[in-house]
């Protein structure tokens, strides 16, 4: 593979990142995703589309999000300077809305009148319901039963926003099952419906378009760090579930080979226990939800349910571009257990006065080691991709506190 300095040329015309990605969908969906690709290419070329996105990002979402020097956390670890890209300050409290706005504008261009989405932690569901409310579109959110239970505040928020919540009981009632059900709805309502996928996975062109919409994170960070420090960072870090916040941060740095790209997967009770969500560190290449990527699977190719304390990382797969970046060595992928994430959650809250979501708490748990590895002259940016309000109940439970 000739990949030197051509990192940003992927995916190829077949929707592949190296051997990963593609369009592994039933024939019923093929006309739709081919259509979506054509529409997306046209939208990408249309200055009016970009202008509308920019306007909404600025005035509705509150972009650019700040780049914040986490001084006390940096001192605590005693290594590189740690910056937070504060995507938790976005409207709706996470990076998810960056992508939702893009996809809903695309749906409008395509004349679609009904939006469906899957959600795990509820952040993508809330973001989709929010944008649908803003544009007056009916919204149906598929959510695993287990997640409905552990993310009650977000379920209520979505209902307030006018979305219909469909609890999914198949499988273990988590994110992958919600995605199966959303795909089933989509094949049944092909004419009217746009499927707003929440992460940089699924059939081509979703991994590409979600990445492009989320790349606003990395573009801003790149500009902001140069303004603050006069140079590029030595490493950028993010947590990985499906991997949309990470690819959004990574991508604008992808050609800068001196910038380390570091993703952190959820190790649950530990990768060695088999109860985790670390597809890259504990999975094998396979085919699910429209793309070829690393998956948690049995020896027979059956999908194994993921486990993580964080509902947003509780997915047995990973976006195909991450699979590619891992196999080529361009990015590094670490892991973090439930307990380590809980510890980091508390540390950040106490030291910085920022309550992070449990998802970025996974990246926070590895920040110290990377900062030490880079040394005191180093610069590190971590994407604080969501705020922790939604998690206070599950954290209290994990800490044995009654509230």
């Amino acid at each position: 593979m000739s990949i030197q300095n051509t990192w940003d040329q992927w995916p190829d015309e077949h929707g592949r990142f190296g051997d990963f990605g593609g369009r592994y969908v039933a024939e019923t969906l093929m006309p739709l995703i081919l259509d979506l690709e054509t529409e997306y290419r046209a939208a990408k070329e249309d200055p009016a589309f970009a202008a509308e996105m920019d306007d909404l990002w600025k005035h509705y979402v509150g972009r650019p999000s700040p780049l914040y020097f986490a001084e006390r956390l940096s001192e605590h670890h005693g290594g590189a300077k740690i910056y937070f890209k504060r995507d938790e300050l976005n409207h709706t409290g996470a990076h998810k809305i960056n992508n939702c706005l893009g996809q809903i504008l695309l749906a409008k261009r395509m004349g679609k009148t009904r939006i469906i989405a899957e959600t795990g932690a509820g952040q993508h569901g809330v973001a989709t319901a929010t944008v649908c409310a803003r544009f007056g579109l009916p919204c149906v959110v598929f959510m695993g039963e287990t997640d409905v239970e552990r993310q009650k505040p977000n379920v209520f928020r979505m209902k307030l926003l006018g979305a219909e919540i469909v609890p999914v009981s198949s499988g273990t009632g988590t994110l992958k099952d919600a995605m199966n059900e959303a795909l089933r709805d989509w094949v049944t309502n092909v004419d009217s419906t746009f499927y707003c996928i929440g992460t940089a996975a699924g059939p081509h062109p979703y991994p590409e378009l979600v990445r492009d919409f989320q790349s606003v994170i990395g573009r801003e960070a790149r500009e902001q760090i140069q303004e603050r420090e006069g140079r590029l960072p030595d490493a950028v870090m993010a947590c990985i579930g499906g991997g949309s916040n990470a690819i959004g941060l990574f991508h604008p740095f992808i050609e800068d080979e001196n910038v380390r790209l570091i993703g952190v997967e959820a190790a649950g009770h530990g990768v060695e226990t088999g109860e985790h969500a670390a597809a890259l560190n504990g999975g094998l290449p396979g085919i699910l939800h429209g793309n070829k990527t690393y998956l948690l699977q049995s020896e027979d190719g059956q999908i194994i349910d993921a486990h993580s304390i964080s509902a947003g990382l509780d997915y047995p797969g990973i976006g195909p571009e991450h699979a590619f970046l891992r196999d080529t060595g361009r990015a590094e992928y670490l892991t973090c257990t439930d307990q380590e994430a809980l510890d980091a959650f508390q540390l950040c809250t106490r030291l910085e006065g920022i309550i992070p979501a449990l998802e970025p708490a996974h990246a926070l748990a590895r920040v110290g080691e990377v900062a030490n590895d880079l040394g005191p002259d180093g610069l590190l940016i971590m994407n604080l991709c969501g705020r922790g309000d939604k998690d206070v109940f599950s954290v209290a439970e994990a800490l044995g506190v009654e509230i």
Partner: protein, 279 residues
């Protein structure tokens, strides 16, 4: 020697001026022994072609009936190897009934396309329908099938345009599986008149027989579809018998119920003499 058993079966039905009955069951639902008996019952009661489902945890194109069939089978520990072994056992004393494996890509991908093709060929399987391997993604499977008597069966739907059908037809073999409704298996049924044009187009473009499935549950619906298609596929209605059998605790009900349904469907299809334009 391309897909000889399948072709022979369509030729036979054509000689009898009728459509074929394609019956689906999930391998290992609720266990492999019951599936074997069910396979024989289907064959003995007029099923012309049998689709043997390989269970998968995440069957994104299937409705609740087949989803649950897959979960029952997986709960019994059925693997892709077991499914192939079941096919082989059936083939040992049935040299003629075409057997099609139907499933999802991941278990096949993990086994390896070449290994899978060899095992399927050894088991006397005649082809496969891999739901999430559209023409754009099935090159490795086709390469593995090319040297063997195995059909790459592809799907067409009411959303398939003529230009898309050309892509679907290229390198397809055996027959075309025409999905009658945009949706999942076991959902509502289509009006044959609504899909007649699409079925004709699929047949004309591919030069292959076209079998219609999704939403066909009883003899009346099967007969209606037999007017416009070369074959009628029934799945969820068969699979429901395995559910009933497991819930009642009498596993024998699976084979007897499937046999009864096959007889009803087969008689209904045979009552329809195809119009000359559809043959």
């Amino acid at each position: 020697m391309p897909v000889s058993r399948i072709t022979a079966r369509f030729d036979k039905a054509k000689a009898e001026n009728r459509a074929v009955l394609v019956a689906y069951l999930m391998a290992g639902d609720p266990d492999l022994e019951t599936s074997y008996e069910a396979l024989c019952a289907l064959r003995d009661n007029g099923a012309d072609i049998i689709e043997l489902g390989a269970p998968f945890t995440d069957p994104m194109a299937d409705g609740p009936a087949i989803q649950k069939a897959g979960l029952r089978s997986l709960a019994a520990g059925t693997t892709l190897k077991d499914t192939l072994a079941l096919a082989k056992r059936f083939r040992e004393d049935d040299p003629d009934t075409p057997l099609i494996l139907m499933g999802y890509a991941n278990p096949v991908h993990l086994m390896g396309y070449e290994t899978f093709a060899e095992a399927a060929s050894q088991a006397g399987v005649d082809g496969s329908i891999i739901v999430d391997l559209p023409p754009e993604e099935d090159a490795p499977l086709r390469a593995a099938y090319a040297t063997r008597d195995l059909a790459v069966i592809r799907m067409a739907t009411p959303t398939t345009t003529e230009s898309r059908m050309k892509t679907v037809a290229e390198n397809a073999s055996g027959f075309v599986y025409y999905v009658a409704i945009a949706g999942i298996t076991g959902a509502g049924s289509a009006d044959p008149e609504d899909i007649r044009e699409g079925v004709d187009m699929a047949r004309r473009v591919s030069g292959l027989p076209v079998c219609v499935g999704f939403g066909v549950k009883n003899g009346e619906q099967a007969a209606a579809m037999a007017h416009i298609a070369d074959g009628v596929v029934v799945g969820s209605a068969f699979v429901d018998n395995a559910k009933t059998a497991q819930e009642s605790g009498d596993l024998g009900l699976a084979a007897s119920g499937m046999g009864r349904l096959a007889k009803e469907l087969s008689e209904a299809i045979r009552s329809v003499r195809l119009e000359p334009s559809a043959t």
